[in-house]
Symmetry: C2
Subunit: 132 residues, 2 copies
């Protein structure tokens, strides 16, 4: 790999009111697990600790993925897109990514017949937050 | 697949000022190609035409992917996440996804040594907009 730019220039948190979109992809299977948000603090902690940390827009605070459920994401690689307002994390997902008990948050497929469940539920949602 | 909810309830454009995040993933390789945005109109046109249509936040209008470059995305499947504010498109990418000439917009990897180019440039960016 050849050097590109300094790390200081990316991600660019100025475009999205201090947030960038963050995609978590299963490093082993390539499945897209979830999309969330990061502010500069969440990103810095993710880089420093090697665990995915997001920013919860609804709760207005850092969201250390798996802090309650134990379903952490171990970050194997971080990529940033061309305009620096989105990051891609390749992660090792412990347990399931989705609070509804599915491996991926994208378990619903939109089809001509409506929205269908396209993946098996692996964990009872009530159990997700009992395993911490 | 079992029916889940009505298609009318998803995506939910009310959370993100009328926009949802949209991830395009290569249907064949699983590579994440790009992250962009959709408003309700862009989503509806994507579903109707089977070609990825986004909403350009910077230009403030619909962005029919590939309209200038010819590098369209043929949509093979659409998924929506658990809280309905992000969609995942599995696409057949014609040409390259990135306007900088890379297959994926996530061609830069963040490493302890800085940000490095982690993929080959396949097309001269000047050529991208000459092929339309």
């Amino acid at each position: 790999m050849e050097p590109a730019t300094t790390a200081a220039s990316v991600p660019d948190f100025s475009k999205g009111d201090g947030l960038v979109a963050a995609v978590a992809q299963d490093a082993a299977t390539g499945d897209v697990l979830m999309v969330a948000w990061m502010n500069a603090e969440a990103y810095a902690e993710t880089v420093r600790t090697g665990r995915a940390v997001y920013y919860s827009r609804s709760r207005g605070k850092l969201w250390r993925k798996g802090e309650e459920s134990g379903h952490v994401q171990i970050v194997r690689a971080i990529y940033v897109d061309c305009d620096a307002d989105a990051v891609l994390l390749k992660v090792e997902q412990v347990g399931v990514a989705c609070h509804e008990g599915y491996r991926s948050c994208f378990f619903r497929q939109v089809t001509p017949d409506g929205v269908c469940i396209a993946a098996p539920r692996l964990v009872d949602p009530a159990e997700v937050y009992r395993q911490a």
